[in-house]
Amino acid sequence: MKPHFLKRLLPVAFVLSILLAGVMFLGISVGSTGSNFGDVWRSLLTNTRADSVLEAIIWRIRLPRVILAALVGATLSLGGLVFQALLRNPLAEPYILGISGGSAIGAILGIILGLSYFPGVSIMAFTGSIGTLVLLLIMSQGQAVFKKDSLLLSGVMVNAFCSAVIMFLISMTRDARLHNIMFWLMGDLSTADIGQVGFLAAALLPCFILIFWLSNTMNLLLLGRDMAQTMGVNVKIVTLTLLITTSYMVSITVSYCGLIGFVGLVIPHLLRLVSGSDHRILVPASILGGGAYMVVCDLLAKILPSQGEIPAGVITALIGAPLFIFLLKRSRQ
């Protein structure tokens, strides 16, 4: 018999929390302005203002950026987990399904129309994500609860279409605000400030809690709609709540830092290998693990190039896309 649920959750949560804290500290410590771990440690923990430049860099630039990376990673990883459970497809992920692309179209339209980030651009991004979700569900309907390949193929097509629309929109405008749009599109975390990060946290944390609240229901849903229903689950309402919450989370992160793919594929997959399929454990583990993974990817994006930076989305795709191909090949066997 398996031990009590909390006894299984706590070790996983403990290890991942330590990991997250560790990589966040590393993320704060490393940057183009030379520094050592000791200085950073002192700056974070004490009030001695020894080096005001480093102080400013740490508090105004690096800390917001690291927190942003953790939030985005947590959201995308959780998004992947939820889509995988609801669509019963271990390869489903917001980016692969085109949900992120749809959000990006909405966000770019919002920027072109000159809307403010909140609520204008965010609402446009949310509308875009829901639009692609509906399109995807219609396209793969009637194919016996989403046959694996047909769903993914629909996603790839939605994604291709979204990319084309995005390119078209960019080419149609001469707006100066779109100068950096390519960089943003590839997933950029470098522009964070602490106020925006706080806003993002306030927008995302309730979603994390709601999804954790529904995590046991997600387990039941994996046994099929009929069985879930006869165990007391209101299948329609729960499915709808999860789909909308996830699309909302993803659209918020996309409108803030562009398209970062495959995080929701890599992290839930690794976690399932370690801790099984119980979503009461996978949900918190995905939040912590996804956060840590994104912080590391952002760190790599910062230190790998010989000069300047590359978008973090490049790193996640370099790691995630080969894994996707590997998993797809294995699922066919």
Partner: protein, 267 residues
């Protein structure tokens, strides 16, 4: 005492096509009730209506004297457990995890299990002979083992009624009898009302206490196996020639379909 299930003037249709027409019958407590009938006779629809998965457009289903629509989903889940014909097993839950999920109608949102729930889970696995498989993943099991896992999950739900949709379909002979023995044990030892849909009239004859024969959404016959499984009713239901005699194993009918070439010889 109210019957376990009481169905009154039940009608159901998919669109304009009627599936069940004006059904009325009772299922007594502690019965092993088997619904048989040809393909498309509405057996599975009837079972899904009783399970509350689909709601009746017309007519009434009562459980222990209370209309089914008066139950909340969770309250219904504490009265009736349902085992579908096929269950997706593409996510690697362990056997004990799946069986434990049967406790969720008795637990809060997060399904935090108590000591008592673990004991009930263990007993359900012993009852179905799954102790050895407790830590195996469901996708590594054979069809018969899988079926037992989902039956154990239903037992874990601690309901008065268990509904099963063709639990022996696609199983080999050994597993068919094993599952049916299990059904008999459930009904006898735990006093659970077992209602199942089956295609196999011979299994129904050997194990059923009461049979219901459906044809095109209507009741053709209802009663003990030897009352229902007669040459006349079966021929009317299935529209083919059948040989009905007494089984050498006991006082219940045995049904053998007759191939066309043998009928010609008889002429």
């Amino acid at each position: 005492m109210n019957p376990a299930i009481n169905i009154n003037n039940l009608n159901y249709s998919y669109g304009t096509m009627p599936v069940l027409e004006n059904l009325s019958f009772k299922i007594e407590r502690g019965d092993l009730f088997i619904i048989i009938g040809p393909n498309g006779s509405g057996k599975s629809t009837l079972l899904r209506l009783i399970a509350g998965i689909i709601r009746a457009g017309d007519g009434q289903i009562e459980l222990f004297g209370n209309p089914i629509r008066n139950y909340t989903r969770k309250a219904l889940a504490r009265k009736i457990a349902y085992v579908p014909q096929t269950v997706p097993v593409d996510f690697p839950f362990t056997v004990s995890e799946v069986v434990l999920m049967g406790r969720s109608p008795h637990l809060g949102m997060l399904g935090l299990e108590r000591e008592k729930d673990l004991v009930i889970t263990k007993q359900a696995m012993e009852f179905t002979g799954l102790e050895q498989l407790a830590h195996r993943k469901t996708h590594q099991l054979s069809g018969g083992e899988c079926q037992r896992v989902f039956i154990a999950r239903a037992i874990c739900q601690e309901t008065d009624i268990i509904l099963l949709d063709e639990p022996t379909a696609s199983l080999d002979l050994a597993h068919q009898t094993r599952i049916m023995d299990l059904m008999e044990k459930l009904q006898k030892e735990k006093d659970i009302t077992v209602v199942m849909v089956s295609h196999d009239v011979n299994l129904a004859a050997m194990y059923g206490k009461t049979l219901l024969l459906l044809k095109e959404g209507q009741i053709l016959s209802r009663g003990k196996p030897d009352e229902v499984l007669t040459f006349q009713t079966l021929e009317a239901a299935y529209g083919c020639t059948l040989l009905v005699d007494e089984s050498p194993l006991g006082h219940f009918p045995r049904v053998t379909p007759v191939p066309e070439r043998l009928m010609k010889i008889k002429d």
